[in-house]
């Protein structure tokens, strides 16, 4: 397993280079996990990607590096301390890097010779493939499939020239990866929505959710999805609500700031009982915060967002595969309970790419359609008929003779405004009853580690991979670590947590935020207090290494 970093300024083409290299590595039989770290600017500054690859599935990034490709000296300065002693720093010979690990090659000269200074990154890819002892077998195809036709030839030459510049230093037994996909978290969410039958996606651009809008804009026409760039996030969610009312599965996506603007309409879906999926791809707040970085700090916000009280479901996606299946499940739950379902993802998942087993659209349990029900004895339609389950019939306007009326005011069974205390009580109780049903279908947190554990790590969402890998590493030394990783997070499933809590000596919450939001939700819902916290809030994702260090520091404190 290896870990390399490609770094340069925004605009240096690091992203394109990384995408090409990843594809070639996968073709060559590697599993991958790549994270993208970039600044909120279009040119300049310092951006990098970290590509971890090996012959087994990977679920997280690591900090320590085997190699660096440095376009500039900044990259060297910023990252050299992560590099292992026998690692390499691939860079152009012109860079003044004084380090025995430097592997200076005439990358620029070669690119210039080829007639286009921009192909320097292809020269570097060639060199990197050689260093890790891969062939150029897949290079031509990859370039053909991903570059403009007139650029293929020169980049292929560049790859070959780079390949010839150096010699192999590392080797890896290749795996069979042709049954695996390579994609980002946001792509997986998009695909999950398609598998669930989405027909309407509205959004306003906002990092790191924008690639979701791109996804539906690109594939919408072919896949029967109307993708609409709204004038603002308020319009985005109110559009999605309109579409859902009209009977088509609808979703909107944004990041925390846009979610803030959607809060009022979220309550509207609550009282009007409109099925809706809302994706919050988190980034560090408050406000504009760190636009292109990652955090898990919207949890408490989204579980209680909007005035008044209504049932909702919040699912924190844990990895790329989860992005697909949980998005699809969100549509089913939203439809079944006529509630908003909030998918919590984050920049880490959204922008990272990894290899995962092929997603299977046929495995999606399609959203159950609530029966439209009949007109009543007076030929009127009770959209909000009081039922024991709290779930009312759901007719689609125009599709039956029912006149379907919905209302953001408190209303009676017909959707007509009311001021009655009695009806109000019944409607509140009807809506809240759905929450009880919902609790019965919660998925308990995934357990990982030693069943007789003494230390229990708890986390949610995108830290999943790192927590699991950390637990494995810890258990290799002392086999008493376990972890519970929450996906379904609101309502919070507490059974498994209470079971383990009664057995362990300590609970440690691991979160990508400053206040320990999961821990406080656990206090509230399970009356359990976490004993220690490992928190990170600098916008860079908690790594396996951060967790190991965190645990070590805690032990020091015992």
């Amino acid at each position: 397993m290896y870990n390399i970093l490609l770094g340069g300024a925004a605009g240096d083409g690091i992203e394109t280079m990384s995408a090409l290299l990843e594809k070639m590595l996968k073709q060559s039989g590697c599993h991958l996990f790549t994270i993208r770290d970039f600044m909120s600017r279009v040119r300049g500054g310092h951006n990098f990607t970290q590509i971890r690859f090996g012959n087994t599935l990977l679920h997280a990034h690591r900090d320590s590096l085997d190699g660096i490709f440095a376009i500039d000296e900044t990259t060297y300065r910023e990252h050299q301390s992560q590099l292992s002693d026998d690692g390499f720093i691939l860079c152009d010979e012109s860079l003044s890097i004084d380090d025995h690990r430097a592997l200076k090659l005439p990358l620029k000269a070669v690119a210039k010779e080829l007639g286009n200074p921009k192909v320097i990154s292809s020269v570097a890819i060639g060199a990197l493939l050689k260093i890790f002892d891969f062939s150029l077998e897949y290079a031509a195809d990859t370039l053909k499939n991903n570059l403009r036709a007139d650029l293929v030839e020169i980049n292929l030459s560049a790859l070959h020239r780079g390949f010839d510049l150096t010699k192999p230093r590392f080797g890896l037994k290749s795996a069979l990866t042709s049954d695996y996909l390579l994609l980002s978290g946001n792509t997986a969410i998009g695909l999950g929505a398609l598998a669930a039958g989405i027909k309407f996606y509205s959004a306003y651009p906002m990092s790191p959710s924008t690639t979701l809008l791109d996804f539906f804009s690109t594939h919408g026409d072919k896949m029967n999805v109307a993708a609409e760039q709204a004038e603002d996030e308020i319009a985005a969610i109110n559009m999605a609500i309109g579409a859902s009312y009209a009977g088509v599965p609808a979703m909107t996506g944004t990041s925390g700031g846009g979610f803030s603007l959607m809060v009022e309409a979220l309550g509207f879906t609550g009282i009007a009982e409109i099925p809706l999926v809302v994706v919050d791809v988190q980034r560090p707040g408050p406000a504009t915060g760190f636009p292109t970085r990652t955090e898990q700090s919207d949890l408490k916000f989204v579980i209680s967002a909007s005035q008044g009280e209504f049932p909702r479901m919040v699912i924190a996606v844990k990895d790329h595969t989860d992005c697909f299946y949980q998005t699809a499940r969100s549509f089913a739950l939203a439809n079944k309970y006529q509630i908003p379902v909030i998918l919590l993802s984050d920049q880490y998942l959204a922008d990272s790419t990894t290899t995962i087993p092929i997603l299977d659209a046929s495995k999606i349990i399609s959203a159950p359609t609530t029966a439209a029900g009949d007109l009543d004895e007076n030929d009127r339609y009770r959209r909000y008929a009081l039922t024991k389950s709290g779930i009312s019939p759901l007719a689609i306007p125009g599709k039956t003779e029912a006149l379907v009326r919905i209302d953001s005011d408190e209303h009676d069974e017909y959707g007509q405004i009311t001021e009655s205390a009695d009806i109000r009580n019944k409607m509140v109780e009807k809506r809240m009853a759905k929450l009880e049903l919902l609790k019965e279908e919660l998925i308990e947190p995934e357990f990982w580690g030693a069943h007789q554990c003494q230390s229990l790590l708890v986390g949610f969402g995108s830290t999943s991979g790192a927590i699991k890998e950390a637990v494995d590493l810890l258990n290799a030394k002392e086999n008493h670590y376990g972890a519970l990783i929450f996906g379904d997070i609101y309502p919070l499933p507490t059974k498994r947590l209470k079971h383990f809590a009664s057995q362990v000596v300590e609970i440690i919450n691991i979160e990508q935020n400053a206040t320990g939001q999961l821990a406080s939700l656990i206090r509230e819902e399970a009356l359990l207090c976490c004993n220690h916290s490992i928190l990170k809030y600098d916008g860079r994702q908690l790594s396996v290494d951060d967790i190991l260090t965190g645990i070590k520091n805690l032990k020091g404190g015992f």
Binding site: S178, D179, Y180, L181, L182, L191, L194, A195, G197, K199, F200, S202, H219, G220, D221, K222, M223, N224, A226, E228, A230, E231, D232, I234, A235, A236, N238, M239, A240, I241, G242, A243, Y245, A246, G247, V248, A250, A265, F268, I358, A361, S362, I364, I396, P397, G398, K399, T400, E401, A402, L403, V404, R405, I406, D407, S408, D409, G415, Q416, I417
Partner: protein, 283 residues
């Protein structure tokens, strides 16, 4: 195909309110159309005007204050078979909802927007709305505009609306005619309807409007944008009513033939094989 008639139910409006005539006229217009009630969706925000959607026997979407337009266009996009009509207030449409007003004009989705313009916030009991008359600084009344008064017709034309009209709740015949034309218009159609609020707007009363409204001359050319803007600036001793501007332009749907054809979006089949094929492109 027509199954049942559109009927109205008891309202919560003040006796004498201009909304009654609008409700009655709209119901009449709907009853003259071919479309049955279950194919019509009435959309509104929050306010006295918006309550109109509760009182006609059709599908009803009573959304949030200011947010009726995005919902309305999405309903139409999702199911082109539906006739989508927005009834809502001036505060709702031009105040809280101003940004949606701007950008949904630009979308030109085939919906109709009836603004019950009483030049005041009725439901919240009498604050100035964007269309309230300018304050007379020497003699301030309560609900007047300290800023420039919002001219919805002029602004709609400037933003690119393809059907822009004004009518008056007190002239039901005129109103019915304009309503029909607006519903028929392919694309977004705006009708700003002068509507006396007897409880809070003591200036722009029935008599006030009655005296001032003046139907456009039959020779008026509604296709001349600049002339229409000039006409839209008339609002004083005479207030022109009628279709100030109309143009034929491609609608939202017509601009996207890849997705929108004779089969409405809602009836299009989801093909899981296509999804699986797309998934395989990520191998």
């Amino acid at each position: 195909m027509k199954k049942t008639a559109f009927t109205t139910s008891e309202t919560a409006w003040c006796p004498g309110c201009g909304n009654y005539s609008i409700l009655e006229t709209l119901t009449g217009v709907l009853n003259q159309m071919e479309t049955p009630p279950h194919q019509v969706v009435l959309v509104g925000g929050i306010g006295q005007a918006a309550k109109a959607n509760q009182y006609i026997s059709a599908n009803g979407f009573s959304g949030l204050h200011g947010r009726s337009l995005p919902a309305a266009v999405a309903i139409k996009i999702a199911n082109d078979d539906l006739t989508v009509i927005v009834n809502t207030g001036d505060g709702d449409s031009y105040g809280e909802g101003g940004n949606h007003f701007l950008h949904n004009i630009r979308r030109n989705v085939d919906i109709t927007h009836f603004v019950h313009d009483n030049q005041i916030y009725g439901l919240t009991k009498g604050q100035p709305s964007p269309t309230s008359d300018p304050c007379d600084l020497s003699h301030k009344i309560n609900a007047c505009n300290m800023g420039a008064t919002f001219n919805p017709l002029l602004i709609a034309i400037a933003v690119g609306a393809t059907f822009v009209a004004r009518s008056f709740s007190g002239d039901k015949e005129h109103l019915a005619e304009i309503m029909q034309a607006a519903i028929k218009h392919p694309g977004y159609a705006l009708v700003d309807i002068l509507q006396p609020c007897v409880s809070f707007n003591k200036k722009n009363t029935f008599a006030y409007y009655k005296q001032r409204v003046k139907p456009l001359d039959p020779t008026y050319d509604a296709t001349n944008k600049l002339a229409a803007m000039e006409k839209a600036m008339e609002f004083g001793d005479t207030i022109p009513i009628g279709i100030l501007y109309q143009e034929q332009a491609l609608t939202y749907k017509e601009k996207r033939p890849e997705l929108f054809d004779a089969v409405p979006l809602i009836d299009k089949l989801v093909n899981l094989e296509d999804v699986q094929a797309l998934i395989h492109r990520y191998i």
